[in-house]
Symmetry: C2
Subunit: 201 residues, 2 copies
Amino acid sequence: MIRILLADDEHLIRGAMAALLSLEDDLEVVAQAATGAEAIATARVVRPDVAVIDLQMPDLDGVAVAQSLARELPTCSTMIVTSHGRPGHLKRALAAGVRGFLPKTVSSDVLATVVRTVHTGGRYVDPALAAEAISAGDSPLTPREADVLELALEGAPIEEIARRASLSPGTVRNYLSSAVGKTGASNRHEAARFARAKGWI
Amino acid sequence: MIRILLADDEHLIRGAMAALLSLEDDLEVVAQAATGAEAIATARVVRPDVAVIDLQMPDLDGVAVAQSLARELPTCSTMIVTSHGRPGHLKRALAAGVRGFLPKTVSSDVLATVVRTVHTGGRYVDPALAAEAISAGDSPLTPREADVLELALEGAPIEEIARRASLSPGTVRNYLSSAVGKTGASNRHEAARFARAKGWI
DNA sequence: GGCAACTCATGACATCTGTCATGAGGAACT
DNA sequence: AGTTCCTCATGACAGATGTCATGAGTTGCC
């Protein structure tokens, strides 16, 4: 019997996935959590075999949870399910020791199969997401460029970005100009959206 | 027995919700669809009592589906479930004749209850979403301002917005300037994000 | 008919942004 | 020690953008 921890902030989906997994004879959902913090706390107590974590949760993001779990419970395999598969997340997730990475568009059969796969030490990444990640390539942005571009995401004026990054406005413009060049965009807003889509920020 | 059509592009969630609803004695999921078009086509054939539609789907948006269903199958009550509850959608949905509007954070009990409620002619809107919609208020934007602002969402330069809206660049700047003033933003990108958050575009 | 609101446009002006040249300082690698 | 890259900064310039005044044409309402 594989003991599973399920974490997703959407009750409906969490409950539904629990119902699905419980239909399998060899799977058992032993705990559920609605936030990242709750997931970690619960995992410490119930020590599940496999943790199925939603990528986007109100507090901690799924990858952060995976990182904690990998450190605290090495025997627990973590897999992530997500609605919006952005390439950058996959890369971060694998680096955090995640063993499975799936979009929520997969069927329940696949979900159950992957739970078994990661439990026996295997890995599974959704082929479509993997292809996307490969085609997205590595980020050409320097760390600082990425920082600044991220602050530009919400549409703030340069003045504010400079304050929030503790940089001079001129420097901010230089980084943004460089980022715009690297992304092929025609202004920082387009560049920011592009970089976000590629998972670079 | 209430006959239900379920539409959601995420297999996992659709299958899971179907499993949950089927646990109820008086509910029966008679059809499932992964896209808006598919949902409409299927509904024409199976003529369900209640349609449970996801708001965001690859082709048609949930509200558009609801509109078609209301016209073609007046006996079928439509309800919408969604992950990201933006105020504007709720307003549009109610205008389209949707009888139930829920975030996916609700429990399965609530889902089943609401299915029964809309089937008997009642209405149900999640209280939190309703509150949000009220606090968002009515859009102060004129239709054209909203159009132009929407084109500005992706960060395109004015030149391109003008082409896509078939307007002169000067006119586009006027509309955007007006929209920026009304939203209290400091540039069109911030204004666009703000308006989107309020559900105005 | 008169009024108000919306749509579309032009021109002028100030400011904001994007681009480029340039340079100092630090870290990493050979 | 030399090279390369990143970080941070300044100054200058052109072009993009935001703001304002103004006006013509349309529609809907009283």
